[in-house]
């Protein structure tokens, strides 16, 4: 028998968490779906709102990365942190303590993005369904990290979730999930024949209905790699801003030439990730805009880190949060 190649624990644990807990950080259903409490979204319907738990993960990822920046992400200590929910208190590190240390304001902010997205889409006349108890992660990281054999076994579970909702359209707020549903999963499993749309596309389609925003300063758009290059969506964001009556400045590297936020390196190469994020923040801040608009959870999280790393005075705001301002006022 040929020995299995030794790989860094961080990769193994991310994979195991997804396969066994349907989520990269093994968060529980309450952590993932509490944002929808009170919305009373139906479990089935024509248009499925899909979070994949991705915005919900962000505060936990940030907290973990802050911890692992000081330790070796490939070491055993890190394995314990990543697998925290299943290995409790073996070395004095308690999963719940780590998870409890997540800043409440971060948790609230990222959870609210899901809520705000639903609110906006409903205001635009979309009827959405969502099944928080059963929703599972898209498997994007299995694909990204090369766990294709595991993804093949995992993919039918994602397909089943979508199928059960009887949806004809799936709206993804993360471009990573959209890429999985549109380009990857149909190739490896019997994926239901659904239209896959991003939040940006859905809003752009009914942009005339958006409330104007009284925002007098120009913003800068950070195009996400997945959205701009893989899915070809970048003009739509500009059209939405035009409808909102908001001026925008283009970053030197934008649209299909956009610069990566550094997010993909966060777990294996946290130091490099910070530097790459910081350089992108500099590109955005150098436009003179004081707000950058982002349409990807991982970009939002990475650029928030990059902003602190570079100490640049520019706000990182999700496009969802920005559009929602119009409804608040």
């Amino acid at each position: 028998m040929v020995a299995k190649r030794e790989i860094p624990p961080v990769l193994e644990i991310l994979c195991e968490n997804i396969v066994k807990s349907n989520n990269p950080l093994a968060l529980n259903e309450k952590d993932l779906s509490s944002w929808a409490k009170g919305l009373n979204l139906p479990l089935k319907g024509d248009t499925l709102f899909y979070t994949g738990g991705e915005y919900q993960l962000l505060p936990y990822i940030d907290s973990l990365v802050k911890t692992i920046t000081y330790i070796n992400p490939n070491g055993n200590f890190f394995s314990l942190v990543m697998g925290a929910r299943k290995i409790v208190n073996m070395t004095g590190i308690h999963a719940e303590k780590i998870y409890a240390s997540i800043l409440a304001k971060d948790k609230k902010r990222y959870n609210l993005i899901n809520y705000k997205a639903v609110y906006i889409l409903q205001k635009l006349g979309y009827d959405l369904c969502y099944n928080g108890k059963e929703e599972i992660y898209s498997g994007a990281l299995l694909h990204e990290l090369g766990f294709w054999k595991e993804l093949k076994s995992y993919a039918p579970k994602v397909a089943d979730y979508v199928r059960k909702t009887e949806a004809k359209t799936v709206v993804c707020i993360s471009p990573h999930a959209a890429e999985m549903f549109k380009l990857i999963l149909p190739q490896i499993t019997d994926f239901p024949d659904v239209k896959v749309r991003t939040f940006v596309e859905m809003v752009c389609e009914r942009k005339e209905l958006l409330p104007k925003l009284n925002y007098n300063k120009p913003v800068v758009i950070h195009d996400s790699c997945r959205l701009a290059r893989e899915l070809g969506i970048h003009e739509e964001i500009r059209q939405i801003l035009d409808s909102l009556g908001v001026k925008y400045i283009e970053a030197l590297r934008n649209r299909e030439w956009t610069t990566c936020c550094g997010g993909p390196s966060k777990m294996l190469f946290p130091d490099i990730s910070k530097i790459v994020s910081g350089r992108r923040v500099t590109e955005l801040a150098d436009t003179g805009a004081d707000t950058a608009l982002i349409s990807c959870p991982y970009c939002l999280s990475a650029l928030e880190s990059g902003k602190h790393y570079e100490s640049r005075n520019i706000e990182m705001e999700d496009l969802i949060e920005f559009i929602y301002r119009g409804y608040e006022s």
Binding site: E6, L145, E230, W257, T259, D271, I272, V276
Partner: protein
């Protein structure tokens, strides 16, 4: 089998150190900005280039499908041109062939070649008792510092003029000012003597026309002209992927290559099809007139035919080595060639997986790639690095018997 888990610690430390190196960051920031500005201006002046690149993509893709035939044709043509053609299946064979031609105790002048790096030509020929001089200015600096290339076209991209002055002052045993013109002049003076004393000149090739047996070498410094023209023997080491059917195809490949390497036109394009000859006295063809009397071409496989058989990764063989992708890579921009071994950055991780140690050696590089895809936007051949990296990662994490 090396351990990805263990290797990644040293690799990460090296990568992190590089990312904090001010020389790298200053040099790369300048280089990236110059590259983008120059390429934009060059494309404006020669707007047919992107269309020509599409044509070249087709030429290269078709050529790779017929690689066996083209190799046979090129070798026969080179022989009929009175050159000598060889095929080396791996590094060991390539070095054995070189040893057979060169022997020991010779002076060798060498032009820049990525295949030369892959085969570790200089070190191997030195081990065989020869004196070898790198003649590309960047490679010469690295030879003196015992360093390795940090970019495929600008190998000493990470060393600023002040540091070059220190290196040269020590080597030439006289004070060299940190003045680029002075630094260039001192190397010119030193190497000029070597070209004419050398027994052998070594080069790579950017493209080879199978129908005429002509090898094409693009350069700016003029060192390759001297390496391939002054010594009595010229040996070219060529990867088998460099073959295209016709001379006209080769010219198209060359133009796209230099344009994406940011040159409107390079100072020199060397086209060589055989040894130097003259028939000026009584019409008797005599070999070895002013140029070399011997011309040897060593075609090297070293994993390329395995890459060719790989449905996902064979597109990497289309790489022209223009280096454009590296300037667009956010990780390369802060770490230079530390994100690599012989071959660098995302495309380098694919090449490493086949020609320089396999996926075991490439694993850390494969996981450094952000899979952001901006390299694909820049690449004249539209090589899909993120897809290949994904595929190769899947080979890293699956056990061997899963494959």
């Amino acid at each position: 089998m090396s351990s990805f888990k263990k290797d990644i610690d040293d690799y990460t430390k090296n990568l992190n150190d590089a990312s904090k190196d001010k020389n790298i960051s200053t040099a790369l920031t300048r280089a990236v900005s110059t590259y983008r500005e120059t390429v934009a201006a060059t494309m404006k002046k020669y707007p047919h280039t992107p269309e020509l690149a599409k044509e070249v993509r087709e030429i290269k893709t078709e050529a790779l499908k017929n690689n066996d035939k083209l190799l046979k044709q090129a070798m026969e043509t080179i022989e009929s041109n009175k050159g000598k053609a060889y095929f080396a299946k791996d590094q060991e064979e390539a070095i054995k062939i070189a040893h057979g031609i060169i022997g020991t105790g010779k002076v060798i002048v060498k032009g820049k070649s990525m295949l030369g790096e892959e085969l570790q030509l200089r070190h191997n020929l030195e081990k065989l008792g020869n004196e070898v001089w790198e003649t590309d200015l960047g490679e010469f600096i690295l030879q003196l510092t015992n360093d390795r290339p940090m970019h495929i076209l600008s190998p000493a991209i990470h060393i600023p003029r002040e540091q070059v002055a220190e290196i040269f002052s020590k080597f030439f045993k006289k004070k060299i000012e940190p003045d680029i013109a002075e630094e260039v002049a001192v190397v010119r003076e030193f190497l000029r003597e070597k070209y004419f004393k050398a027994d052998v000149g070594i080069s790579g090739a950017n493209v080879v026309a199978a129908d005429t047996g002509q090898i094409v070498i693009i350069e700016n410094e003029g060192n390759v002209r001297l390496c391939t023209g002054a010594p009595p023997v010229h040996i070219a080491f060529v990867g088998i992927e460099k073959l295209v059917p016709t001379f006209l195809d080769a010219m198209k490949v060359a133009e796209v290559n230099w344009r994406y390497a940011q040159y409107p036109a390079p100072s020199y394009v060397n086209i060589i099809s055989g040894p130097s000859k003259t028939g000026d006295i009584e019409k008797v063809t005599t070999y070895g007139a002013h140029g070399p009397r011997e011309f040897h071409v060593v075609f090297v496989d070293n994993g390329r035919s395995d890459m060719l058989k790989d449905e996902t990764c064979n597109q990497a063989l289309n790489c022209l080595r223009c280096g454009g992708c590296m300037y667009e890579c956010p990780v390369f921009q802060v770490t230079a060639g530390h994100y690599g071994r012989t071959y660098l950055s995302g495309i380098g991780s694919v090449w490493t997986s086949f020609v320089d140690g396999g996926v075991d050696e490439a694993a850390s590089m494969l996981y450094t790639c952000l899979r952001c895809g901006r390299c694909v936007e820049r690449c004249p051949m539209k090589i899909d690095v993120p897809t290949m990296v994904g595929e190769l990662r899947s080979r890293v994490v699956s056990s061997d018997d899963d494959k």
